[in-house]
Subunit: 381 residues, 2 copies
């Protein structure tokens, strides 16, 4: 009878009606029915990306859509600045290397967000750079970058801006057209409240001009092929029909709730969790914390594996660890997906009890109270 | 209250318990639970591929896995013979071109299967060819190729054989290790009775030697990255957890039934449907028909769109049309997935009635009877 609550930063909890929609009898993708579904899903995606541009639907993880965007926007003769402030920034550096794309990585400390000045200096130092690749919410380090400010820099210099919005879009404020972002990518298993298996890429006309100016050296993730099929509300290869069908239900829920409300709720959960972490006497990991996921240092010497195991097995609370140099030292709790303030309070309560049982000095109730105070004050109407 | 039966050659009908398994609450992929699932799914895939080699699980359509295999096995300095006897053969030619892979396409008439002699002659004519890419069951043309015979040729010449087994594996006899096939790929939405969204690639040691000898110019579908993660029963990027969870249920069903029985049942449905097509006075499309899908010419002048619409809307039977030069002239009925002889008899009955209503001369019951005679004679015990 134990209830499991998933607090990992993707996959996230998925609403029951979305899961049941995907359990409907299988239907075919070359039909009016499917084209109608894809058409509406595309419209709803435009809303969550805040763009009038076309949004492509990839069958793959967010990485597939991001690879397609990077390879498409960087034909020979172009050069990218790639901001690397965590595992995902590092991944886009690797994509550039795999496809022989000319690029300069800029490494930041994990936990730091990218600022406009960093981009400005790097572009001034190398006039060949005409494309910037960055991560809005660096999940691995629970840090947020200033996309709006950096977009001003890339616009001034007539460069393209490609944003990995995988744990940002639908979670924290992002306005593709207003800010002047050229390409943004997200995945299904984050704020869009779906299982993993779909990647989405919003691409504006400036980016398409660049893409059309060169030869694309990929196939499965070739954005040109996806655009051609999208004209007819189809995909070039068999799409993950059940997931797209689920997207119709989850995106309608987001539209009905209103994106601003969803952003406010994510922010509330992030703010409350950060207050709870501080009340526990623990330190946040990120210098620039993002609202979609909270990362925090464990008390020194604490057995991270044992902590997460107890949380999962005794309390049904699945939180995430961390990778690379912070593995075993940092844990992460998501505020994305089908998660509300009462789930979050439960997770904080379980964390309090588990830390106390493991010998960390905790005044029981202090973290829950700190979170509750934030919630009572900012509770959206 | 109308019941819909899906007879398209992918997606196919999915068992109810598989759909409901995928509707279970979302779980995370970096857990012991997930690793246990992937481990068992991989073992079961080895069984359906009839191989001791590792099988990789891609989040993507079958095309993603096939792209990964082709790019991995053909680093610079190698050359492929690509057999093109339909839309999928054509696709593998395009993959070679997109990645700048040295290749020679061999075009066959649609409906013809590739024979060992064709491969032998092409390889004799060009000693640079050290890799053969072919489609076992060319779905677009409902034709089967002689993989076993061609594998003898590639083995003699120490060349690699890469097989698109997307509508073959789990449907018609295929024995990777016994036959000496080096790489075989399939997709989830065919004989494996799952929704679309997963691709599977079985790769043997000879192929891995080739892959390890060169640099791989791709990222998302890089087989080396998938192999590395598979060591720990993981995937390099977030996998489609729900679909893999469904695979556990569908593959266990295949294992329990026994692969030879599943092959015999697919053959029975194919044989019975071909008999029905002939009894309707219609011609099969393929010179070398495959048992996983039956393609047949419509009566001259018949409105294919109207036929399929009536079948779908009045009878709930969704069959497939065809592409390119045979579009509007050929229809296809699948024998893969969660489909049995009674579903198939129903489809044949609906086809009889619809053809008769549209003016084709039919003795009502003749096609159903022809199918029934085959079924009564060969019904597996």
């Amino acid at each position: 009878m134990k209830k499991l609550r998933l607090f990992t930063p993707g996959p996230v909890m998925v609403p029951e009606d979305v899961m049941l929609e995907m359990a409907q009898p299988m239907l075919h993708h070359r039909t009016e029915w499917y084209r109608g579904v894809q058409k509406e899903v595309t419209e709803l995606l435009r809303y969550v990306f805040q763009t009038k541009s076309l949004v492509l639907i990839f069958t793959g993880s967010g990485t597939s859509a991001m690879e397609g965007a990077i390879v498409g926007c960087l034909p020979a003769g172009h050069k990218a600045l790639v901001i690397n402030n965590g595992k995902f920034g590092e991944r886009w550096v690797k994509v550039c290397a795999a496809f022989g794309i000319d690029h300069t990585p800029v490494k930041l400390e994990w936990g730091q967000g990218a600022k406009p000045d960093t981009v400005k200096k790097a572009m001034d130092a190398d006039p060949k750079i005409d494309t910037v690749i960055m991560v809005h919410s660096e999940t691995s380090a629970s840090a947020v970058s200033d996309v709006e400010g950096i977009a001003k820099v890339t616009r001034e210099r007539n460069a393209l801006l490609l944003v990995d919005g995988i744990t940002a879009v639908g979670a924290i404020p992002f306005k593709m057209d207003d800010w002047g972002v050229d390409v943004c990518v997200t995945g299904s298993q984050k704020a869009l409240m779906l299982p993993p298996g779909l990647g989405f890429a919003a691409i504006n006309d400036r980016a398409w001009q660049r893409i059309d100016s060169g030869k694309t050296h990929c196939f499965y993730n070739d954005v040109k092929a996806y655009r051609k099929s999208a004209d007819n509300n189809e995909t070039p290869y068999t799409p993950a029909v059940t997931l797209i069908r689920g997207a119709l239900v989850s995106l309608r829920k987001i539209k009905t709730r209103g994106l601003e409300n969803v952003w406010a709720e994510t922010k509330l959960l992030g703010t409350a969790t950060r207050a709870a972490v501080k009340a526990l006497g623990l330190k946040l990991f990120a210098a620039d914390p993002v609202d979609s996921v909270t990362g925090f240092w464990l008390p020194q010497g604490m057995d991270e594996g044992a902590l997460r195991k107890t949380l999962r097995e005794k309390h049904g609370m699945q939180i995430a660890g961390a990778q690379d140099q912070i593995k075993g030292k940092v844990c992460r709790i998501t505020h994305m997906g089908y998660v509300d303030q009462y789930d979050t309070l439960g997770c904080i309560a379980a964390l309090e009890m588990t830390l106390a049982a493991m010998g960390h000095k905790v005044t029981l109730g202090s973290a829950v109270t700190a979170a509750l105070q934030v919630m009572a004050e900012h509770n959206p109407k």
